[in-house]
Amino acid sequence: MKPIDLKNQIRARKRYDALFGVLGLLALMIGVLTFCALFADMAIKGMGRVDWDFFTSFPSRHPGQAGILSAWVGSTLVMLVTAFFAVPLGVAAGVYLEEYARKNWVTDLIEINITNLAGVPSIVYGLLALGLFVYQFGFGQSILSAGLTLALLILPVVIVATREAIRSIPQAIREGSYALGATQWQTVRYHILPYSSAGILTGIIIGMARAIGETAPIITIGALTFIAFLPPAPVSAQPPFLSFEWLVSPFTVMPIQMFNWTSRPEAAFQVNAAAAGFVLVIMTLAMNGLAIWLRYRLRRNIKW
């Protein structure tokens, strides 16, 4: 090879190198720009509808008066049920797998299971809930059924986050605790759980953000799309003060309300869909953002 050829070759390779740098940046920009387009499109179309009335009105046949009151109340109540089941179960399972489980085939089975469950399409969870909660257990198309479904759906997320948080605690902490005569449970209760709580919280927030945006499984259990009433209030002035009737009440949630409006042909309803979508995206972004920020702070502050 003549020296002049070699020089050209090197120049060409360097050019390809720079070219790929540009290509990579472009590809990244496509992702970022799409997101900006999505957000801007919804903000421009929906902003005009997002006001106090929008949050305090029921859905209506008249698009101008329709609001998301029943949707956000429904979402909040479903999230309460989801958190009530998913958080203790997920954290307990995570602690068990990291701290207590022996290395045997049962543990392997559970681990493979969790990995697999994380990959099951959400609509399949909906079918499970339809067969099990709605028909078998007779919970009906209620807030309880929906909350349980979403709890199962985000369980793998909570378990994996818990395990990762626990795994990052150095062994020396445990040994120190045992050396002072603590039992295994005391070690978990006073050392492992407090030190991993920020990491676990991150996982819970990400899981809840996912649950709040899930539509498919809730449609599958047959949640109504037109609900112009609120579930019975959980707290009342008369004895027995607390009522759990809201658990079995029919409901709607934010993503279903949005789906309903999106699939209407009238443009005015689609504006409502944009407004609901805008609120929904802000909510999930805020939750995910909080989780990412928490994790970032965690990485900086931890010095074992």
Partner: protein, 280 residues
């Protein structure tokens, strides 16, 4: 107690399989499995009922292929760029941003596909129907990019620095190193990312239910409207068919098919990832 909590995940799987199989058995008592697999019509709600799952599979396949045609090249380029080219600061910003992109609810993507991307495509190609697999597929692809990019990037970052340094010492450019050394070394991890992307695409529901129409249609042309397995389940769940009727049982048979397809991909992805973890 803690052990029982961990077992809940096993119960969930057992529950899913039991429910799907049990309800599908009711369905297959009335419809032969040969018809289910070979019929070319899907009209479970008509008097002249046909149950050819191929019709729904074609919709699922076509939309997934469109999505993958977007997500795999873009996701791979982004992963290589972030892992080998991008300055540290850009990566620190881009990674969380990609995560945020993955956290947007799918119904919002569906809205975006129907009311933003489809009108945009119609300007380029005026004959495009309002519901079509193309725009749903494109948006689905964009939705999957974060998954593909993030898992592939993790795989590439796990390749030991010494391999790169060896390559640079031989006078290779960054691009040569990335394509000929890092990418092949990380390939099983990257392949796992692709497979997880495929399984996401196959199981995606709301984008297709909103933007691709719910008309069963045996087609491989992305410009047409068609129903996927997932969209069909949503359609039946929205309707008011009584529990126990054949029409209603179809969704469990469809769900079982979906579950089996994603299970195959998930297991393949799991095995590949395990192999890549053991390499270094």
């Amino acid at each position: 107690m803690l052990f029982l909590a961990a077992l809940v995940s096993v119960f969930t799987t057992v529950g899913i399989v039991t429910i799907l199989v049990k309800e599908s058995v009711v369905f297959f008592e009335q419809v032969s499995i040969v018809d289910f697999l070979t019929d070319t019509q899907w009209t479970p709600l008509f008097d002249d009922a046909h149950f050819g799952i191929m019709v729904l599979l074609s919709g699922t396949l076509t939309s997934s292929l469109v999505a993958l045609a977007i997500a795999i090249p873009l996701g791979t380029v982004i992963a290589i760029y972030l892992s080998e080219f991008a300055p540290f600061k850009l990566r620190e910003i881009a990674k969380p941003f990609l995560e945020l992109l993955g956290g947007v609810p799918t119904i919002v993507y569906g809205y975006f596909a129907l009311l933003f991307v489809t009108p945009l495509l119609q300007r380029i190609y005026p004959g495009l129907p309002g519901f079509n697999l193309l725009s749903a597929g494109i948006v689905m692809g964009i939705m999957i990019i974060p998954y593909v990019a993030s898992i592939s990037e993790d795989a590439m970052r796990a390749v030991p620095m010494s391999l790169r340094e060896g390559s640079y010492a031989m006078g290779a450019t960054r691009l040569q190193t990335a394509l000929r050394v890092v990418f092949p070394a990380a390939f099983s991890g990257v392949a796992a990312a692709y497979i997880l992307g495929i399984s996401r695409a196959v199981g995606e529901t709301m984008i297709l239910a909103v933007a691709a129409g719910m008309q069963p249609n045996l087609t491989f042309n992305p410009l047409e409207p068609a129903a996927t397995i997932t969209a069909y389940i949503v359609q039946v769940a929205l309707g008011d068919l009584p529990h126990g009727s054949v029409g209603f049982q179809t969704i469990f048979a469809a769900g079982l098919t979906l579950m089996l397809i994603t299970l195959i991909f998930n297991i393949a992805g799991h095995l590949l990832r395990k192999r890549f973890r053991e390499t270094y």
